[in-house]
C-alpha cells in the first residue's frame, strides 16, 4: 500500500514536469511554427540588477520593435533564472532545446553558466548569443560555430582600459585582484597591455572571494607609489572596494581608481560621492547620442532605471538574430549563424559592428570617468567620456586567437 502511495507521488511530480513538454508542431517556414527565444539570466543573484528583469524587458522591446512576428510566424519569448549555477543553467538550456524547441538562448550572465551553455548549444545545433558574460574563452578555446559573444569580453576590458588610461598619462599601476579565474585573467591581460604601452605594474594583491572587507588590501595599495589602482573584481566585491576606497580617501591621496568591470546600475547604487572620478570601460552609456537616449528613455519608463550595457546588448542581440532569421528565411542554426556573421551590426548602441568567424562581435569601446556630484546635472547623469577605442583595437585579433574554428596560416 504505502509503496503505491509513494510511487504515485513520484509519478505525479514527474508527470507535472512532463506536461511542460509541448507536442511537436510542424510549421511552414520555421521549424515548429514559431520562433522561440530563451532569455537565460540571473533573476536572484549577484547580477540580477544589471541583467535579470532588465534583460527580459530589453528583449521584449526588441521583439515588439520587430513586430512580434516574422512572415506571420510569431516570435515567442521565454525566460528562466539560472541562479548562477552552471548545472541549473545547463539543464535549463538542454530542456529548452530538447523539449521546448527553443531556437536561441540569449543573455547568460556568469561565465561558468555561459561556457556550459556554449557546449550544449553546439551539441543541439542551435544558437546562443552571449550578451552578458565576460570570459573571452567563449570566442577563444571554447568557441563553437553556434555561439556569438555580443557585448564585451575580458580581453576588451583589459585592453581598452589599459591602453586608454596609459595614453592619458597614468602609467604606474597597482592591481586589486579577485582571487579567481576572472580576476586573474583581467589582471594578466591588463598588466600585459600596460607594460606593452611602456607603463609599469608596481604590484598587486589577491583578494579572496566574498571578502566584504577590503580595507587591508586598500591600505597595501595605498602604500604603493602607483598612480593607478585597478580593480580586477566584479559584482559586490567591486562595490565594496569602491565604497571603502572612498572611505580611506584613496582618491584624495592621489590614486586614480580604475574599475575594470562596472555597470551603471552599480554606480547608481553606490552613489556619486563614492564613485566620483573612477574610470571604467563600457560599450554603452545611455547619454551618448539621440539613439541611445531614445532607447534609454523607453527602457526607463518600463524599468525605472537606465539600461546597463548588458541590457542594451540583449536588445541588440535579439534584434540582430531576428533580422538574420528574416533574411535567411529559416531558423536553422547554420543558416542563421551564417547570415548573422555576414550582416553588419547597426543599432543605437553599435555603429558598423561586425561579427567575426570566431563568433566575436566587434564594436567600439569607450573609457568613461564618473562625474563628481557637482558635475552631475540630473539623475543618472553619471559619466563623461575620456576616449573611445575603435573596434579593431579593442578586441583580440584573430592572429592571437586559440579558437579552433580559426584557421591559422
Amino acid at each position: 500500500m504505502k509503496r503505491y502511495a509513494v510511487t504515485a507521488a513520484i509519478a505525479a511530480c514527474l508527470l507535472a514536469q512532463a506536461q511542460s513538454a509541448p507536442a511537436h508542431a510542424q510549421g511552414a517556414a520555421y521549424s515548429d511554427g514559431k520562433i522561440k527565444i530563451g532569455i537565460l539570466t540571473d533573476l536572484s543573484g549577484q547580477l540580477s540588477d544589471s541583467t535579470g528583469q532588465g534583460s527580459i524587458a530589453a528583449a521584449q522591446m526588441a521583439v515588439e520593435d520587430f513586430g512580434g512576428a516574422i512572415n506571420g510566424t510569431p516570435v515567442e519569448l521565454i525566460f528562466a533564472d539560472h541562479q548562477n549555477k552552471a548545472d541549473i543553467g545547463a539543464s535549463t538550456a538542454r530542456r529548452w532545446y530538447d523539449v521546448d524547441q527553443v531556437d536561441a538562448i540569449i543573455d547568460v550572465p556568469n561565465s561558468a553558466v555561459a561556457l556550459a551553455v556554449q557546449q550544449i548549444t553546439k551539441e543541439a545545433n542551435r544558437v546562443a548569443i552571449f550578451s552578458s558574460p565576460a570570459s573571452s574563452d567563449l570566442t577563444g578555446k571554447a568557441c563553437t560555430p553556434n555561439g556569438l559573444h555580443w557585448t564585451y569580453d575580458t580581453y576588451a576590458l583589459a585592453h581598452v582600459t589599459a591602453e586608454a588610461v596609459v595614453a592619458s598619462g597614468l602609467s604606474s599601476w597597482y592591481f586589486l585582484t579577485s582571487d579567481y579565474a576572472f580576476g586573474h585573467a583581467l589582471e594578466r591581460d591588463t598588466g600585459a597591455v600596460v607594460e606593452s604601452q611602456k607603463g609599469k605594474v608596481l604590484g598587486s594583491v589577491r583578494v579572496p572571494a566574498n571578502n566584504a572587507d577590503f580595507s587591508s588590501f586598500l591600505l597595501q595599495a595605498q602604500a604603493s607609489p602607483a598612480k593607478v589602482v585597478a580593480l580586477a573584481t566584479a559584482g559586490a566585491d567591486t562595490q565594496n572596494a569602491i565604497k571603502q576606497a572612498a572611505e580611506f580617501g584613496l582618491g584624495q591621496s592621489g590614486k586614480n581608481i580604475v574599475a575594470l568591470l562596472l555597470a551603471i546600475s552599480e554606480v547608481h547604487a553606490l552613489g556619486l560621492p563614492a564613485t566620483q572620478d573612477i574610470m571604467l570601460t563600457t560599450p554603452f552609456y545611455w547619454d551618448m547620442d539621440d539613439g541611445t537616449r531614445a532607447f534609454s528613455k523607453r527602457f526607463f519608463e518600463k524599468r525605472k532605471a537606465m539600461p546597463t550595457f548588458y541590457q542594451a546588448g540583449v536588445y541588440g542581440a535579439v534584434s540582430h538574430y531576428l533580422k538574420a532569421i528574416k533574411a535567411a528565411g529559416t531558423d536553422a542554426a547554420p543558416d542563421v549563424m551564417k547570415t548573422m556573421k555576414a550582416t553588419p551590426v547597426n543599432d543605437f548602441m553599435t555603429k558598423n559592428g561586425s561579427v567575426r568567424e570566431d563568433g566575436r562581435v566587434l564594436r567600439d569601446m569607450h573609457l568613461f570617468q564618473v562625474k563628481t556630484p557637482a558635475e552631475s546635472k540630473a539623475p543618472w547623469d553619471y559619466y563623461k567620456l575620456v576616449r573611445s577605442v575603435p573596434a579593431e583595437r579593442a578586441f583580440r585579433p584573430l592572429s592571437e586567437s586559440d579558437c579552433p574554428l580559426v584557421k591559422k596560416m
Binding site: 540588477d49 580595507s215 591600505l219 580611506f248 547604487a269
Partner: protein, 295 residues
C-alpha cells in the same frame, strides 16, 4: 631593521589596527551568538540574516522615514530584537524538546527566507548608506589614514561588548542569565519566568546582530547577501572561543580579526581559510573551545 618579515613596521601597525576593526565586528556578532547559544542551546544560523536585516532597517528608515543614522542606531536593533522575540515565541520555542540540531535547521531555513525575501524586493546591488556627517573624514596617524567612522566602529562595538559583558557578569539580571544557563529548572523554581528570559535573551542576541548591521551599513553596501558571507566566519569564531562563553566570544573575535589581518598581508590567498583551520585544530585539541566549559 626597517623591515619586519618583508613588511615595513608602519604598514604592519596599520594592518593590525584594521584587524582590530574587523575583530570588533566579529566580536559583536559572535557575542550575540554566544549569548543565544548559552541560554537556548541553539546555533543561530539566522544570525547573519538578522545582521543584514539590521542594516536594511537602517536604510529603510533613512529612505522612507527620514530617520538618520543616530536614530537608526537605536531603532534598528530594537526592530530586529522584536523580530527575534517573535521568532522565538512562535517557532523556536517548539523545538526545545527535540534534538538541538533541529534548532540549527530551523534557523538555517529562516536565514534563507530572510535573505531571499530581501533579495527579491531590493535586488543584490546593495543600497548606499552614507556615513553620518559627524563621523566623516579621517585622521592621518602617520602609519595610516584612519577614517573617523572606523574609529567609531571600534569604539562603539568595544563599548557594547564591554557593556554586555558587564551586564552579564556584574548585574542582577546577568546573574539570572548565568544561573539559568547553568540550571534553568532551579531558577524556575525560584520564581523566575525562565521562558520569558529565554525569549528576551534571543531578542537581545539578535538585537546585537542588528546593531552590528547598522554599524556596518556605512562601510559596506546594504545588501541582502552581506550576512551570509560573514556568518560562517563568525560561527567559527564562536566555536573557537567556546560556545556560550561571553568573554571567549569577545576575545576570540578580536584575536581572530588581528590574525586574519596579518594573514591578509603575508599570505592573502589563505585569509579565507585561516579561521577554519584554527577552528578545526581547536576543536580537536579543546573541543569546548578556548574559553568554553565542557557541557
Amino acid at each position: 631593521m626597517s623591515q619586519l618579515l618583508g613588511i615595513p613596521p608602519q604598514a604592519l601597525f596599520g594592518q593590525l589596527l584594521l584587524g582590530l576593526i574587523n575583530g570588533s565586528f566579529y566580536a559583536l556578532l559572535s557575542l550575540g551568538l554566544a549569548v543565544i547559544f548559552g541560554m537556548l542551546n541553539v546555533v543561530n544560523m539566522a544570525h547573519g540574516a538578522l545582521y543584514m536585516v539590521g542594516a536594511f532597517v537602517a536604510w529603510l528608515l533613512l529612505t522612507y522615514a527620514g530617520v538618520g543614522y543616530w536614530g537608526a542606531l537605536i531603532l534598528a536593533p530594537l526592530v530586529v530584537g522584536l523580530v527575534g522575540l517573535a521568532l522565538e515565541r512562535t517557532l523556536l520555542r517548539r523545538l526545545y524538546k527535540v534534538d538541538h540540531l533541529y534548532g540549527l535547521l530551523l534557523t538555517f531555513g529562516l536565514a534563507l527566507i530572510f535573505e531571499g525575501a530581501f533579495r527579491h524586493h531590493y535586488g543584490v546591488s546593495g543600497q548606499p548608506y552614507p556615513i553620518p556627517d559627524l563621523l566623516k573624514g579621517g585622521t592621518n596617524l602617520g602609519f595610516m589614514y584612519l577614517p573617523t567612522y572606523r574609529g567609531w566602529v571600534v569604539a562603539a562595538s568595544l563599548l557594547v561588548c564591554l557593556g554586555t559583558w558587564f551586564a552579564i557578569e556584574r548585574t542582577k539580571l546577568g546573574a539570572y542569565l548565568r544561573a539559568a544557563t547553568e540550571n534553568p529548572t532551579l531558577v524556575q523554581a525560584f520564581g523566575i519566568n525562565v521562558p520569558v528570559m529565554v525569549s528576551l535573551t534571543y531578542g537581545f542576541g539578535v538585537a546585537l546582530a542588528g546593531l552590528a548591521g547598522v554599524l556596518a551599513a556605512p562601510i559596506y553596501q546594504v545588501s541582502p547577501m552581506m550576512g551570509s558571507n560573514l556568518i560562517i566566519v563568525v560561527f567559527a569564531v564562536v566555536v573557537i572561543g567556546g560556545m556560550g562563553s561571553i568573554l571567549g566570544a569577545i576575545v576570540t573575535g578580536l584575536g581572530l580579526g588581528l590574525l586574519e589581518g596579518l594573514t591578509k598581508v603575508f599570505y592573502p590567498e589563505a585569509s579565507n581559510i585561516v579561521v577554519f583551520v584554527i577552528m578545526a585544530v581547536v576543536l580537536m585539541v579543546k573541543p569546548a573551545g578556548l574559553f568554553g566549559r565542557e557541557r
